[in-house]
Symmetry: C2
Subunit: 513 residues, 2 copies
């Protein structure tokens, strides 16, 4: 899946700690290749022929020079360093990690469609709304298994293709592993479970977590985690690594990989059926797991006690001229064709809405439990201008969609910052009551956080990174349908922009020969 | 099918003759829509939701103002007025047509794939060459019939979809019809036959033809014809209109439409099986029909008797660094990223090869009947610079491909000019002998002409249209693989170029704010 305006590349950057810093030169060729990650052959966007792309193994402090070539046919591409470009934290360098392990392994979790993004887009943006449907497969480290009997006789689908043999996670009996987990799905909340093994969550979005033991881990699109896994079960067999959709009614088969105890054959199937994971609609289970993720006691970054500004965002499904949309405080966001940063620096202020985006909604009387009686919203791309250095709270409030008795999960992702997760709740956020329950003692910092069905999520961040930053639901279809806002802070501190970036919308006219 | 660098829109411009000229304003919205022309639903490029696009009915001399909006996701688009922008001929205006008819009907003939162009492109440009395969369907006026049992159970394929009910050509018993035929296929030579009815060819590529009666008509990608059809058979039933692939071994079912005699039901199937058309590999049949197409005696434009220059082009399949290519005189053409016209006017002469493209090949000793022993070619984009006003002959010589006992058909199309078709032959062109047999008496003028397997085709044109003009095989895959050359003539007579077209390659840097 890729959005039309920017391709998002997730990186499993393996950060290790070391006193030496290195300079690494890396070449990436981005192009279409036929790949069969779930046995069904499909033209896919790849980096150096791979999807997911190649892993970069780096030590914090290293300098990476990445030379990317766009070999796509007509699409522009940009690289989003998801979660990497946040400001350096004080404890970041030279610190010992608060957990131990022998080796580490990556687990990249994904959902996968055989139809292309543009088909989804046409369906989402049609008056006759047409949902592309749930994923065809779930992939673990780029491998899944499609039921080829559902493909046509002329489709290239072959379950004996080695490209789709299940991913094997090789472990030595008795050793301890750090699993670096990234949910790079475009839609799905994914529950990861490893048969017969508990996992200890130790890190989330680059921040150390007070260790918490779980039987399985809920991950939301855009999140990263580290968990500790001990290979302490009987080494005479392999075990299932399973991936299940949660939060939406699953219509996609369980994704599987093999936890491969040495010296068993990595293709040897475990003797039992794969575990089926938690109930997909057990919101309380997921909400409670979210609440368990707090900062490791030795690595707490205490948030400012009081915000300078609080923005309440009502997340609702809506309609504009009959088109289905998502909106915040009844405004459905659309991207201006000229980039904000260039527009602000070059005084092209007419290219986006001059008014401020709405700060709040009628939180006292709004009924979050019912489909809205008046679902009409408006389009907009006005922004929130934040005072540089100020502390900002955002409370995300979920509601019923246009479908009775339905509320969806939204993983919200903020560019350019990490934020504190101050609290989650079920039901309607009450500023008088709920702010008193905020965790100001050991909140975790993250860049992506779940908003649970019918729930609320409160975050706090410092507006200390000069620029223009998106904050959006990380489900691609939702972003496309307007589920995002934009923050500006300290744009006057951004230096002179290079002429070479003047390429989109009216900025093209500013480009110097 | 569409090429990545320019979308080619064929227009069935219905030119009628009248003393009044009109101004017409037309709006085109180019966008992706789900269409099911052969019962299989596919995201398709459409104009105003239609493929083929809407017909423009105009009278020669009318002024058409066409406002096109590009609603594609990432692709640029350009409109090629195929065969329309040739210089006005002296006889063009106010002349009576040399044939009579009661009404006219359009027949747009096409080949259709369910997989997208990019999949074809990846296959064509891979070291491991992978041909997308023959068309899934043949379409008549945008309608065909796919065998849905070949589609997967999840594919939207439905033979009862009214979108793919066969095209009906309604006729009144006893009346005479002009059928305006356009072959808009990206690959296929298509034989059109109307059960029980002969056709009289009266026009080709906009020029009147000495009437010739045929049982069926061979058409090559990019060609247009008019034929006269008399509805003089028994009106108690309908008749088949059939389309068959010729020149390549057919793997696509016959395309069918209904010749519907009023007042029969247009959906009533004719009682017999559809005619099967001529043998696909009967080259002599097609060559002889090509030779029958000469100018109408009252509309002859006599060519200059002697050319100033003759260019011989050996059409061969070749390899470059292992990649499969097509080449002319051993040069496989590739497009420069900066347009030639801008490059020449702005003296950016380094953006294409400075040397001239090769004028000839070793025509005395070259063996056209065998796969080449040394298939290596080179890439190039040098051009032919023609003296303005000069007369130029081009002789296209076909050869055996890299496959033993195989030679393909290539429909060559020239931009910016009509040319005289001086002769066709089978075997090796011999300048000493064959030029004496040229038809200088009543050659037809065309803009697209077939080069038959193992044959040669000779054309003549006047370099009298200032600009830079492509001459290429109209099979999209062949053009993509290098089968084209470029002519320049009188570029100094082209006026100042508007800044607004400075958009591609280095020309972007010339754009003024």
């Amino acid at each position: 899946m890729s959005s039309p305006y920017a391709l998002l590349f997730f990186l499993s950057l393996l950060l290790a700690f070391s006193v030496e810093s290195k300079l690494q030169h890396i070449k990436w060729e981005i192009r279409y290749s036929n790949r069969s990650p779930d046995c069904f052959t499909k033209l896919s966007i790849t980096i150096n022929g791979l999807t997911p792309g190649p892993t970069i193994t780096a030590t914090e402090g290293d300098t990476l020079v990445i030379f990317a070539t766009n070999g796509l046919f007509t699409e522009n591409t940009s690289i989003h360093w998801h979660g990497i470009l946040s400001l350096a934290s004080g404890w970041d360098e030279g610190t010992r990690e608060p957990f131990e392990y022998d080796e580490e392994r990556s687990l990249v979790l994904n959902d996968w469609w055989h139809r292309r993004t543009y088909e989804q887009e046409i369906g989402l943006s049609s008056l006759n709304f047409n949902w592309i449907g749930e994923p065809d497969s779930l992939l673990i480290n780029g491998r899944g298994r499609y039921n080829c009997s559902l493909a046509g006789p002329l489709d290239a689908c072959n379950v004996t293709n080695p490209e789709c043999s299940p991913a094997a996670l090789a472990v030595m009996p008795g050793k301890t592993y750090r699993l670096r987990i990234a949910n790079v799905a475009s839609l799905s909340a994914l529950n990861l479970e490893i048969e017969g093994h508990n996992m200890t969550i130790v890190e989330a979005d680059g921040h150390y977590v007070k260790p918490v033991v779980v039987k399985n881990l809920n991950t939301y699109s855009g999140e990263t985690y580290s968990v500790i896994l001990k290979a302490e079960q009987s080494p005479s067999r392999n075990y299932w690594v399973v991936l299940n959709v949660v939060g939406r009614k699953p219509r996609t088969p369980t994704g599987t990989a093999i936890l491969n105890y040495y010296p068993n054959n990595p293709l040897q199937q475990p003797p039992n059926d794969p575990p089926s994971g938690p109930l997909w609609d057990d919101t309380m289970y997921r909400l409670n797991q979210s609440k368990l993720i707090v900062s490791h006691p030795e690595y707490i970054q205490t948030p400012p006690r009081v915000p300078h500004r609080t923005i309440l965002l009502l997340n609702s499904q809506s309609r504009i001229d009959g088109y289905l949309k998502w909106s915040l405080n009844n405004v459905s966001y659309f991207f201006p064709t000229t980039p904000y940063l260039i527009a602000m620096k070059k005084r092209l202020l007419h290219v986006f809405d001059p008014g401020h985006a709405p700060e709040s909604y009628d939180y006292k009387s709004h009924d979050i439990w019912s489909a809205p009686k008046n679902p009409n919203a408006t389009l907009g791309n006005g922004i929130y201008r934040l005072e540089f250095g100020s502390t900002v709270d955002v409370v995300l409030q979920n509601t019923n969609t246009l479908t009775p008795n339905n509320s969806e999960t939204h993983p919200w992702h903020l560019h350019g910052h990490d934020f504190w997760v101050l609290g989650y709740g079920l039901g309607k956020f009450d500023p008088e009551v709920d702010t008193r329950e905020y965790n100001l003692v050991d909140p975790i910092m993250k860049n992506t956080v779940a908003l649970h069905p019918y729930g609320w999520t409160a975050i706090r961040f410092q507006a200390n990174n000069p620029g223009v930053w998106a904050f959006h639901c990380h489900i691609e279809a939702h972003t496309f349908m307007g589920m995002g806002v934009v923050f500006e802070e300290g744009v006057e501190k951004v230096g002179k922009l290079p002429s070479s970036i003047m390429d989109c919308g009216e900025s093209k006219l500013l480009r110097k020969p």
